[in-house]
């Protein structure tokens, strides 16, 4: 990508990056928004079924996006190679999603429609997403539910035998389909069973316990991956006509997050270093209802599903530092601050707003529990109104999980909750076809910069993963394969040799440091820094501090990390170290992106940019664009280059988001 090499203005992180040419999503048709996906499907080229077997696709990731894509491409007859780092595809992080999946079915006749889901998502994303993509997502939501039911996904049902739905934050209709508190598990097992069916049919080759460590780009096209077999330590290469990354989000850059321990950015980051632009890295989502940290040994945070806010009421004591147990605080001495501040949506305001409100309460010293870092989520009214049995039927497993972790019984005392990092809206830049800026490299699911703008609505990630996997990628990848098969790539191709050698070098370097600190101790330090400076509230001063500190922390890491053992077999410290090394680079880009975006929007809250009553102040005039970053190279001389994709809003008029 050629650069204009303009200097950015002083207010936007002068000297830290260069400004490149703008980019455009050139695959979204110009037709009226409701026709675009139909038009694109019609214009997409088809591949003769007899030729498909000769065309190969690498799909990295077996979560909802990757599992669904690999299964569907296999059904279509392509030769699919599927990868995950867990011991089986069924354990991908999607398994942990709890609350539900949105779809504009309007089964309740409560005024829902594709247009309303589209509207809610664009507004929920604080007008920082692409209209075409979001509309398509809302359209596909209808088919997703049908597909999953046909696979045998046991969604919750009413006595009529029809599907039940619940409400989620940021919406006033009930469009969230669910399977108790385990919706992700049930959807993933559906995709997994479809995938295993294709493994049995011989169309999908499954490679579990195999971690992608680099992307192979040949003559400008993505043609393969370098992997490490986690069990044998062997560095291997796989080539194909095209590569699809569905490798999930990067929330673990914060160390403590609700993500699974293995979730990482390595695949996406390695692709970024090979030329794929990384978009909006500073858009990260903080979930308002998680179990607070209990000690410094804490290894992850546990989400309490947003669905709990349907029936739970959030409050803090009206008196600062009130030490009484919650049940002894009388009703009129409690501040139900969400209901007070946002009467229209009450406890169901979107996540970013609920999280910030909790932080503000705790910063103002109204917080409860150890360190004052918690607020109550109280079910006593719901239990009184609906009966314990009904509450148990809806949330039983979540209550149990809470009790298992904290030792407290939420039927008796309110839960204590605090916000935690949960999801990343940023990711590799893709066009309407989910193509990255490297030809032949597609990106789906949480790994792409997705359809959620600056804030994702609850129950929309599962929808997006499955929309990408079942419906979009199979169409657009096929269109790309219409030009395939490409010239085979041999192991001795210079691009392959180079990628393998640089992967080996990195591993050797990690193993030979033999320093004094463990991988986790570095990861914790990085996480704390990013949480403090690029978490729930961000400031110019803090971000600059982080940008000064991260390079030296990275240098210390490479010099002083200690990994026992060799690379020749299972070595979990080595796996972690490789991931942390990439988080160290990503963290810097996140902070830079946050520093350059001199506005507040969705999950990105700059303290300098707020309205009088403390709400996010967007600057549409200057920042209505996607920030897509080009890798600047290693070392101090390498500055990233910013490419802007202007956002156009023709169907939903940007307004200040109001949930009051």
């Amino acid at each position: 990508m050629s650069e204009l090499q303009q200097e950015p203005t002083a207010t936007q992180g002068e000297g830290r990056y260069a400004l490149g040419e703008p980019i455009a999503d050139d695959r979204s048709p110009d037709s009226p928004i409701g026709d675009r996906w139909d038009d694109r499907k019609f214009s997409a080229r088809l591949v003769n079924p007899a030729n498909r077997r000769k065309m190969s696709v690498i799909v990295v990731g077996t979560g909802l996006a990757g599992g669904a894509a690999a299964a569907t491409l296999g059904e279509a007859g392509y030769h699919v190679k599927s990868f995950c780092f867990q011991d089986t595809p069924r354990r991908a992080h999607s398994i942990a999603a709890q609350g539900g999946i949105n779809a504009a079915k309007n089964y309740r006749n409560d005024g829902d429609s594709v247009h309303r889901l589209f509207y809610d998502t664009v507004k929920g994303g604080d007008f920082r997403s692409r209209e075409s993509n979001v509309h398509r997502l809302a359209e596909n939501s209808l088919n997703i539910i049908d597909q999953c039911v046909a696979q045998g996904v046991p969604f919750a049902r009413e006595y009529s035998g029809l599907l039940d739905t619940r409400s989620f934050g940021g919406t006033q209709v009930s469009r969230t389909f669910y399977a108790r508190g385990q919706t992700g598990q049930q959807l993933l097992l559906g995709a997994y069973s479809a995938l295993e069916r294709q493994v049995a049919a011989g169309t999908v080759e499954m490679h579990p316990r195999t971690e992608m460590l680099d992307l192979i780009v040949v003559d400008g096209r993505a043609r393969g991956i370098v992997t490490r077999n986690v069990l044998t330590g062997e560095i291997e290469t796989y080539t194909a006509d095209t590569v699809v990354l569905c490798t999930g989000g990067y929330g673990n850059v914060y160390y403590l997050s609700t993500n699974a321990k293995g979730s990482n950015v390595t695949a996406a980051w390695r692709a970024h270093r090979r030329g794929a632009l990384f978009a909006n890295p500073c858009y990260t989502q903080i979930h308002p209802t998680c179990i607070p940290v209990s000690g410094d040994y804490q290894s992850k945070l546990t989400l309490m599903s947003e669905s709990l806010r349907n029936d739970g009421r959030v409050w803090v004591p009206k008196e600062r530092g009130d030490q009484r147990p919650p049940n002894e605080i009388p009703e009129d001495e409690r501040d139900y601050y969400l209901e007070r501040q946002y009467p229209a949506f009450g406890n169901l305001v979107p996540r970013d707003i609920a999280s910030r409100a909790a932080k503000n309460m705790c910063d103002a010293e109204y917080g409860v529990g150890p360190g004052g870092l918690g607020v109550y989520l109280d079910f006593s009214d719901a239990i009184e109104r609906l009966g314990r049995h009904a509450v148990e039927a809806k949330y039983g497993n979540l209550f149990e999980m809470y009790q298992r972790i904290t030792g407290d019984d939420p039927y008796q005392v309110p839960m204590r909750i605090y916000p935690a990092i949960h999801y990343t809206m940023g990711g590799l830049w893709v066009d309407y076809d989910l193509r990255s800026t490297i030809p032949g490299l597609f990106v789906g699911g949480e790994a792409n910069f997705s359809d959620h703008g600056a804030n994702r609505l609850g129950a929309s990630a599962l929808m997006q993963g499955l929309s990408d996997g079942y419906f979009i990628l199979p169409t657009t990848v096929a269109d790309y394969l219409a030009d395939a098969p490409f010239e085979p790539v041999g192991d001795d191709h210079p691009a392959v040799v180079e990628a393998v050698e640089s992967t080996r070098e990195r591993i050797d370097k990690l193993l030979s440091a033999n320093g004094n600190r463990t991988v986790d101790s570095f990861h914790r330090e990085l996480g704390q820094l990013v949480w403090d400076q690029c978490g729930m509230a961000r400031s110019k001063e803090g971000l600059e501090k982080a940008l000064d500190r991260i390079p030296s922390l990275r240098e210390e890491f490479w010099r002083d990390v200690k990994i026992v053992g060799t690379g020749d077999g299972l070595n979990q410290s080595l796996e972690k170290a490789g991931r942390v090394a990439d988080f160290m680079e990503l963290a810097e880009l996140m902070c830079l992106d946050a520093l350059h975006r001199e506005e507040s929007c969705g999950g990105h809250f700059r303290v300098e940019h707020q309205t009088e009553d403390g709400e996010a102040a967007r600057d549409d005039e200057n920042f209505s664009y996607v920030a897509a970053w080009e890798w600047g190279g290693d070392g101090h001389g390498g500055r990233p280059t910013l490419h802007k994709e202007d956002l156009d809003f023709s169907y939903v008029h940007p307004s200040q988001r109001s949930y009051k």
Partner: protein, 251 residues
């Protein structure tokens, strides 16, 4: 609290393993079992010793990765709880805790506490699905499902594929795992067309792998972290019998 751990250490599949003793001085009761092992591993690393390998990912009791036999019981002492959700408040100061991998012929040890459970994927490949391609589904409301069947199917579908049932079974049988899937799909209208072949194919597959036969011991359901009931095995047997009587054969 202070604890003594005796942990199974085994370098790789080809070497013999043994129990190795470690002492931890400062275990907090709010730690999870895996966080306690994290602390041990930090200590081992700084002492230049190989940290203990173990599978884990979600640490929320849902991915099915974690798998340890704790004091002789798969997933340890707390009912309906995976290893990652077990907290140290269930142990006392001065305790000695034995930590071992799953022990079953079908799940060979790879290293330390890590075993190979890929046989479960093979069982699913043999029929644990509804044969429906993407794009061919009717509207979700076309087929109502009565709530009781839907709820029961859901309960069976919550199996996380951890393998504790196999580890607890004196025969190393995978019957509860297979039965959970057969029950889930067999209770739903979508699962009916393949119900008979599914049951016999999955059963035939598990017999072909290294799993033992089921002699109704019931140890599996005792340790299952998701509470999959023993009754699902009768259901599987019932489906297999029905299939055999109707002349269906494994393919």
């Amino acid at each position: 609290m202070k604890l003594t751990l005796r942990v199974w250490r085994q370098k790789n599949a080809d070497t013999k393993g043994k129990m190795v003793k470690y002492h931890l001085d400062d275990v907090d009761e709010d730690m999870s079992f895996l966080e306690m092992l994290d602390v041990l591993n930090e200590k081992l690393t700084l002492d230049d010793e190989d940290p203990v390998s173990f599978d884990h990912d979600c640490r929320e009791g849902i991915c099915g990765s974690c798998a340890m036999v704790i004091n002789g019981v798969p997933h340890g002492p707390q009912k309906n709880t995976t290893t990652c959700q077990l907290h140290m408040r269930h142990f006392s100061d001065g305790d000695t805790i034995d930590v071992e991998p799953w022990r079953a012929r079908a799940f060979p040890v790879i290293k330390d506490l890590v075993t190979d459970r890929s046989a479960f994927d093979q069982i699913i490949q043999s029929g644990g699905y509804v044969s429906v391609n993407t794009g061919s589904a009717p509207d979700a409301h076309a087929t109502p499902v009565d709530k009781v069947s839907a709820d029961d199917a859901f309960d069976a579908a919550t199996c996380i594929g951890c393998g504790a049932c196999v580890a607890a079974c004196p025969n190393g049988s995978s019957m509860l795992f297979t039965a959970a899937k057969v029950t889930h799909l067999g209770l739903l209208p979508q699962g009916q067309p393949e119900r008979a072949t599914r049951a016999i194919n999955m059963l035939a597959k598990q017999d072909e792998l290294d799993f033992g036969g089921c002699t109704n011991v019931g140890a599996c359901a005792e340790v299952c972290p998701k509470g999959i009931p023993l009754a699902s095995i009768s259901r599987l047997n019932h489906d297999v019998l029905g299939a055999t009587l109707s002349g269906a054969r494994a393919d």
